[in-house]
């Protein structure tokens, strides 16, 4: 009696992880910070978020259809939703709809599918989308508003929100600068950090998200909670977040100690901008970060140091996106030089010498 045609070798046991499950857990981890920030920034943010995620899914579907790949089955892996989600979180919450749509096209069509789809892209799609927008439309991409919680006095209602998102008229009185941008502008006017820091929100407000910034840049604590959840679920490991935030904090603290008039403190760097979102959700992207643990530490340190350098010396107040993209380009090289040592072999691949004999 023949049982079955033997098609494949072992193992005849497989774990229960899947790409879909992994992506779903990441979305779940983003949920608290997202909900909280959508509440803080109100209807315009909700509209932009919906438009961006929807555009990403639509572009993904179009690309898959063009490439002749199974559309529904591939969409089910949730990777396009995750890209759209992260992208929306990196945009100014009251940005007009076309920012979200254009960013989605760049993120999914250019950064992901031009390279061959899921798993093949060199650069983090969401960060490509955001960066292209930032460079192309610097004004629209840097209009920040202070939080206007849903249903609070002065917060835009749904109709006003439609005017903001689809009509593109952000009331001037509502805009505010992000902390990083404010400090940088003041510094360029000759006002030392020690003075300008008095004007930025205190650390507690920054941690809870009650400040101007993109959706994901604010509320560090909820992002942290999501990140810890992912670690507990073993979706990500500590290597990239710890090395990135550690190196950012150390170099910032060092320069702050040397010259407090020009350099903000390590804590300020950690709490402001997209540090937390970048450390836990952007830099840890599987596809574009190194595969080995030692490679991930190098990658994280690189992102941390570059972020600090860009924030201090480059034209832009925030540098996480640029830093991640720059390190993405180094990932293949890092991977090549950080392969683990094989059992019974030296790093060079030669068999280990027998003990006692050279």
């Amino acid at each position: 009696m023949s049982v079955a045609i033997v098609k494949k070798s072992g193992p005849f046991a497989h774990g229960f992880s899947s790409v879909q499950k992994t992506m779903f857990l990441v979305l779940l981890a983003l949920m608290p910070a997202t909900v909280s920030n959508l509440y803080l920034f109100g209807w315009p943010a909700i509209l932009l978020f919906t438009v961006t995620v929807g555009a990403c899914v639509a572009v993904e579907a179009a690309c898959l259809a063009l490439a002749g790949k199974p559309v529904m089955a591939t969409l089910a892996d949730c990777s396009a939703i995750l890209t759209g989600w992260l992208l929306a979180m990196s945009l100014p919450p009251w940005a007009p709809w076309w920012i979200g749509v254009l960013a989605a096209i760049f993120a999914i069509a250019l950064a992901k599918h031009a390279f061959g789809g899921l798993g093949q892209n060199v650069f983090n799609p969401a960060m490509v989308g955001r960066t292209v927008m930032l460079i192309s439309f610097p004004v629209s991409m840097t209009i920040w508003v202070a939080p206007h919680p849903l249903f609070s006095a002065g917060a835009p209602g749904l109709l006003e929100a439609f005017a903001i998102t689809f009509g593109g008229n952000v009331p001037d009185t509502m805009s505010a600068a992000s902390a990083l941008g404010y400090v940088k502008t003041e510094l360029s006017r000759g006002i030392p950090v020690t003075q300008s820091m008095a004007q930025v929100p205190d650390l507690m407000d920054m941690a809870l998200g009650y400040r101007a910034g993109s959706l994901g840049e604010t509320s560090a604590l909820l992002i942290l909670a999501g990140g810890l959840f992912l670690m507990a679920k073993r979706i990500i490991s500590w290597h990239i977040p710890a090395s990135m935030m550690g190196s950012l904090f150390l170099i910032a603290a060092l320069f702050h100690a040397i010259d407090p008039a020009h350099f903000t403190s390590g804590t300020f760097h950690l709490m402001s901008g997209a540090t937390f979102l970048g450390a836990f959700f952007i830099a840890t992207d599987y596809v574009t970060s190194p595969v080995s643990k030692s490679g991930q530490i190098i990658f994280g340190i690189g992102v941390g140091l570059l972020t600090w350098s860009i924030r201090n010396f480059a034209g832009y107040p925030e540098g996480v996106a640029f830093a991640v993209l720059l390190m993405n380009s180094l990932t293949p090289i890092i991977d090549q030089y950080t392969r683990p040592r094989a059992f019974g072999r030296t790093r060079k691949g030669e068999p280990l010498p027998l003990e006692g004999k050279p």
Binding site: S9, V19, Y286, P290, V291, A342
Partner: protein
């Protein structure tokens, strides 16, 4: 005892509870036994019987031949029905030469070799001959002839016999049951092997998930101070020889070396018991305990099976299938081989027969790799499965070889964790097969080249000698023999011609 960490590994669902409390039961003698000549690594045994011969239980029916081989014995008394081609317990389902024995139901023992009265005063050769004569092979699955491994003491300085009772494969409980039900036999066998190897120390490594086995073995070993029972953590693939050695001694076996080069020889617990039987009673290896389990088996059990019983007999004895098995596996689910047919016989290396349902296997169509790096984290060999697979997919096997694909022992950890369900081990097995073939071809052509060169030289020399002799004879008529032309006088063009013709011949 201080243990050492091993790299990577996984914690699969073990499902050992299906059979771990089932006492070993003997399979009723089937209507026919199918005993393949090759059940081990090395050369097949040489047939000693022919159709119609009457044999007794334990009688040698095929003798080991060549350096690496093992003999086969009749598992019961009966008549040789034929020596013919029968489907092998191998994924290919190809036939191999097999002795078919029809039991007569009397189960009469042959005249066995005398027990070795005091094995601890016997010489290495006495014990080794007995082990070889008894057809014992490694019963953990690899089925390497044990006598050769026992001989290592002559070539290398050994200090430890490591008895492998880790049984890290899910489902399998045969070693667990053997340790729990026959601890004395295991310990005695281990002591005999240690004596033959000349190792002063015996360490028995058992995974933590077998507390009763640890307890009974510890109790049985308590009388012998040289034996140490070590509980090793539950971490697949702890039972891999190199990894068990590392966990217990902290030493890493260099690539292309054996654990014996570190002074450690590893044997399976069931092998130790077989050695006990051979030395103390003269009984050859004619039966083994097989775990019959899996979600598709109605009554999973640990079955003492005569070598040569068909898998179908075992399945029937265990109540048959309760569901359609997706795969029937020979061995554990991680490293076992799929069986192409239930007609294949149980051999000495068969530790389990698993009928697994699709839900248990949980295989799915492969998705794109998302470079999560889990495969690198779990690889116990420190390889990069993600990179190797990428190169193998493009048939770039040279790079895969440089990345160490030949160091992979197909433990399956990477395939197990892969969220995209990429059949990594399948890729590696393919690459290893092709690379081995290429290496064989390369060696063969090199050997042909050397042989051809040697032949050319030989013919040249012969021709030269002939000319020298001729030259010596010619002047012998006139001048003194001492004036004979040395080889230098032969026109060089001539040699070239000879060489050319030889080459032509060789190339033809």
């Amino acid at each position: 005892m201080k243990l050492f960490p091993i790299r990577g590994g996984i914690h699969p669902e073990y499902r050992k509870e299906l059979t771990s409390e089932k006492v070993i039961v003997a399979l009723p003698m089937p209507a026919a036994l199918y005993i393949p000549l090759q059940q081990h690594i090395g050369a097949p045994a040489e047939v000693l019987v022919k159709e119609g011969d009457l044999v007794k239980k334990g009688q040698m029916i095929a003798r080991n031949q060549g350096a690496v081989s093992a003999s086969q014995h009749a598992p019961t008394s009966g008549r040789i029905a034929s020596v013919t081609e029968v489907i092998a317990p191998h994924p290919s389902g190809l036939p191999q030469t097999t002795i078919i024995l029809e039991p007569d139901g009397k189960d009469e023992w042959a005249c066995l070799p005398e027990p070795i009265a005091d094995p601890f005063t016997a010489t290495l050769h006495e014990i080794n001959d007995r082990v070889a004569q008894s057809g014992i092979v490694g019963m953990g699955g690899a089925a390497f002839p044990s006598a050769i491994k026992l001989n290592l003491g002559e070539q290398k300085k050994l200090d430890t016999l490591l008895l492998n009772g880790a049984e890290c494969e899910p489902y399998l409980t045969c070693d667990d049951r053997v340790m729990r039900e026959y601890p004395g036999e295991v310990i005695d066998g281990a002591r005999i092997m240690a004596h033959a190897l000349g190792t002063p120390r015996v360490v028995i490594g058992i995974e933590q998930n077998k507390p009763q086995a640890i307890e009974t073995i510890t109790k049985a070993a308590s009388a012998f101070p040289e034996i140490e029972v070590v509980t090793v953590p539950v971490q697949y693939p702890m039972g891999s020889e190199r990894h068990l050695v590392q966990a217990i001694t902290g030493r890493e076996t260099p690539a292309r070396k054996l654990a014996a080069d570190l002074g450690i020889v590893v044997h399976n617990v069931a092998t130790a018991r077989a050695v006990h039987h051979a030395v103390r009673f003269g009984r050859p290896l004619i039966a083994r305990v097989v775990t019959v389990s899996g979600g598709a088996i109605r009554e999973p059990n640990n079955v003492l099976t005569p070598i040569g019983a068909r898998v179908a007999d075992l399945v029937e004895f265990c109540g048959g299938f309760s569901a359609r098995p997706e795969s029937v596996v020979n061995g554990g689910p991680m490293m076992g081989q799929p069986l192409a047919s239930l007609e294949a016989p149980v051999v000495k290396g068969t530790s389990g027969i698993l009928a697994l349902t699709a839900e248990e296997i949980n295989d799915r169509p492969a998705n794109a790799c998302i470079r999560c790096g889990s495969c690198i984290t779990v690889c116990p060999c420190g390889l990069s499965p993600v990179d190797m697979a990428a190169f193998i997919r493009k048939d770039n096997l040279d790079v895969a070889a440089r990345l160490g694909v030949m160091d992979c022992f197909s433990c399956g950890s990477c395939s197990y964790v892969c969220p995209s369900h990429i059949p990594l081990v399948h890729y590696f097995n393919y690459a290893k097969g092709v690379l081995r073939e290429l290496e064989d071809d390369r060696r063969k052509s090199e050997r042909i080249k050397t042989l051809a060169e040697v032949r050319t030289i030989r013919i040249e020399k012969a021709a030269e000698a002939k000319r020298a002799a001729l030259a010596a004879r010619k002047p012998a008529a006139g001048a003194a023999p001492s004036g004979a032309a040395p080889s230098g006088n032969v026109p060089s063009g001539n040699t070239g011609e000879i060489k050319a013709t030889t080459e032509e011949k060789v190339n033809a």
